[in-house]
């Protein structure tokens, strides 16, 4: 491919690609994000390739492997363009039918269509599926039209037009003004205004200036950054290019989690392609602006998502944060002015430049503009990635999009903000979700993890889970975080084991506050949040553990016993077969028993019983 030398040449190339494509040609788009690949999608892709070859359809039918579509619950899935027919939970055996019946004859295969559990209606088209219908997918929606390995796909939908617009008609200051006016706030956790950060970095003394894309995504239970980087790497590159131009940077980094091999692969390929066509490198589009990007794989440390630890890690040191009397925008990576933004933040930038700040600011709420991608997971029917305008209520996300709680169980809480966030109880379900509202009730937006919990989730156990996570991830440099989190965890361990004391709740509260006040970085500074919010909203559960030695959700092993409900037991022997200690016993067809002396509470019998006859008390 020859290098593009001007905005005009880019526009011509986009037009040429579009002209070469027949919008009516059937295109089978198959989701090949990490989630769907885990379902075994690779095999299905092979089947499609073989079938297309076998029927000699190479010229008539296109097969596109795309990134994550978002509806991970129903994978493996395909969308057949141009009609956008949606098939879910497909298997390799379905492939010949999909091609012969649907692609060639326009017939809908009923068994593969999605059935709306609420209305029991079959839904044929992707845009009619309630999960998608209620979202606003400006950023993530592009994933379905793009093969991440194919830069042409991105160019065909107008990719790099934002960059071209910035380079050809806007001064760097004007780009910054636009981002400020759009009121874009960082999607990585803190919600810091992006335009202001860019401006500080631009104005800071010192050369070179660096920009970095934070793709460390450490929140355990969140994967929207990965899906964006994996599914639409050129969008992130374009955002970074626009930012680099505005800030006056010629060197960028992408710091990506080591656990995301596919994202690393796709972004590496995208960078090579962008270099090939001259969208990265020297004198981009003939503007005199030069910029390139290096990729850095992380080493599996949550704290490295924190800015100063991330810089240390890129510099080849262990990722210990430093105190922030100097801003990163003045002295960051290699002590040079550095602008760090999250993947999704970068991904929003091309939209703002293309469609204008006024359009962007009209989405969402006054102080939280645009959309946010959440990873909706846990005890929820429609697990997946959802993109919604800021200000939507939690209820709409959990019930209208998420389809509510599985098995008819009762909603208890939703945890937002990752390990630094908080648990939000039912009473706030109608609260609008944006940066400020979440902060008001003691949680935070965080990067976008949204973990739904039902009445079988123990809030003390969840708080303990996050503390354990943070205790392990604490870098150990400052005492309040290293020792304080450990001490809080020991208290929670005790409570979960039935050894809690009356004064423990009080101790947790003041100790939490001390850790917040005394820690060096935001890891420690927010570590007590999950404990403090669960105490605030679920104090009764703590009290049940401490005073009554009971775990109401039936989770904390020391406080529960397994027994058999004689009325329900059919004597099928399933529990006895799986019990590792021979605690569950009985003769076939007779009521079984659990010997509490031998029971190690592993839960195997509960899981194996098909008659709901194992009781947890």
């Amino acid at each position: 491919m020859k290098k593009l030398k001007s905005p005009g040449e880019l526009a011509a190339l986009q037009a040429e690609i579009r002209a070469g494509r027949d919008p009516k040609k059937p295109c089978i788009t198959i989701c090949a994000g990490t989630g769907c690949l885990a379902y075994g999608t690779q095999k299905i892709i092979e089947c499609f390739r073989q079938e297309i070859d076998k029927q000699h359809l190479q010229d008539r039918v296109q097969l596109r492997t795309s990134g994550c579509h978002g509806f991970c619950e129903r994978g493996p899935m395909v969308v057949i363009h141009p009609q956008k027919i949606f098939y879910q939970r497909i298997k390799a055996e379905d492939v010949p039918d999909i091609i012969s019946k649907t692609v060639l004859a326009g017939e809908i295969i009923d068994r593969l269509s999605y059935v709306d559990p609420a209305t029991k209606q079959k839904i044929v088209y992707e845009h009619d599926v309630p999960f998608y219908k209620r979202q606003t997918r400006y950023v993530l929606g592009m994933n379905g039209d793009i093969d991440p390995a194919c830069i042409d796909d991105y160019l065909a939908i107008g990719g790099y037009s934002g960059l071209s617009k910035a380079l050809s008609g806007m001064k760097p200051e004007a780009v910054i003004e636009e981002v400020k006016k759009a009121n874009l706030r960082g999607r990585g956790g803190g919600g810091f205004p992006t335009g202001w950060k860019w401006e500080s970095t631009r104005k800071a003394a010192g050369e070179p200036k660096y920009i970095i894309c934070n793709a460390d995504e450490g929140d355990p239970g969140a994967y929207m950054d990965r899906s964006l980087l994996e599914g639409n790497p050129h969008l992130v590159l374009e955002g970074m290019l626009i930012g680099a131009y505005a800030i006056g940077s010629s060197q960028g980094y992408i710091y990506v989690r080591n656990e995301y091999p596919l994202a690393v692969h796709n972004i590496t390929l995208a960078i090579e392609k962008a270099r090939e066509v001259g969208l990265l490198g020297e004198n981009i589009l003939g503007s005199g602006f030069s910029f390139d990007i290096k990729i850095n794989r992380g080493g599996g440390a949550f704290v490295c998502g924190e800015s100063s630890a991330l810089f240390a890690s890129i510099e080849g040191r262990s990722g210990e944060p430093r105190a922030k009397y100097v801003h990163a925008t003045d002295q960051g990576l290699y002590n040079k002015p550095t602008n760090l933004n999250n993947v999704e933040t970068w991904g929003n930038v091309p939209l703002i430049i293309n469609r204008g700040a006024d359009w962007y600011a009209s989405i969402g709420t006054a102080n939280s503009t645009g959309t946010k991608i959440f990873s909706l997971v846990g005890k929820i029917n429609n697990t997946g990635l959802v993109e919604v305008p800021m200000g939507i209520t939690l209820r709409e996300i959990v019930y209208d999009i998420g389809g509510g709680i599985p098995n008819g169980r009762k909603f208890k809480a939703v945890q937002t903000g990752g390990p630094s966030g908080g648990c939000i109880p039912e009473q706030f379900l109608d609260m609008p979700v944006d940066f400020d509202e979440l902060a008001k009730i003691g949680s935070m937006m965080g990067s976008g993890g949204m973990i739904v919990m039902d009445d079988r989730t123990c809030m003390v156990d969840v708080a303990n889970y996050f503390l354990k996570f943070l205790e392990e991830e604490s870098c150990g440099k400052c005492t309040p975080c290293r020792e304080g989190v450990l001490q809080m965890r020991l208290i929670l361990d005790r409570i979960c084991e039935g050894q809690g004391k009356e004064e423990d709740i009080n101790t947790l509260e003041w100790m939490g506050q001390a850790i917040i006040d005394g820690s060096l970085c935001a890891l420690g500074g927010s570590a007590p949040n999950p404990v403090l919010t669960t105490i605030k909203y679920f104090r009764d559960e703590y009290e049940a553990h401490i005073k009554h030695k009971k775990c109401p959700a039936g989770v904390c092993k020391a406080l529960i016993t397994y027994s058999v409900d004689a009325e329900k037991c059919t004597g099928c022997h399933a529990c006895a077969r799986v019990c590792p200690t021979q605690a569950a016993t009985g003769e076939k067809k007779k009521t079984h028993v659990v010997d509490l002396g031998k029971c190690i509470k592993c839960g195997a019998c509960f899981e194996a019983c098909k008659f709901d006859a194992i009781k947890i008390l």
Binding site: G298, G300, V462, P580
Partner: protein, 158 residues
Amino acid sequence: MQAKIQAIISRYGSDKGFLVPILQDVQRELNYLPEDALVMVSTLLEIPLSRIFEVATFYKAFSLTPRGKHLLSLCLGTACHVRGAPLLSGHIERALGIRPGETSPDLEFTFETVNCLGACALGPVMVVDGEYHGQLTIAKTNAILRDLGRKVPSDEEA
């Protein structure tokens, strides 16, 4: 070994800043980070061994002991946690007789726990030698262990 390490370091232009990715590549090549390898990296990059050791012990991705033939990575991310992953972790610990992060003495199994594999819809999830296993139950876990040639408790009486 020296040639391999030399090749990896050259790939990064002997740039000290790439210590983390260099160690990642060395580990991929050698399965773990033996002491000799660390000494070699230290000499070639002219970084004190203590610094290399600091980095190699700081990041979870590195192992200073040999790793097993089979790698089991069980997700303990939040979504998997609330869906019962801790019970599975306990079960695997008992079945293999090792704790998370350890390798069985016969070098057959390494069992580790990880945070969110990004396949939360399938939770609880475990990656076994690169292959994903979703909606994991104790029964499914037993089947996996059995496939890898490990006896599980319930086999005895079955």
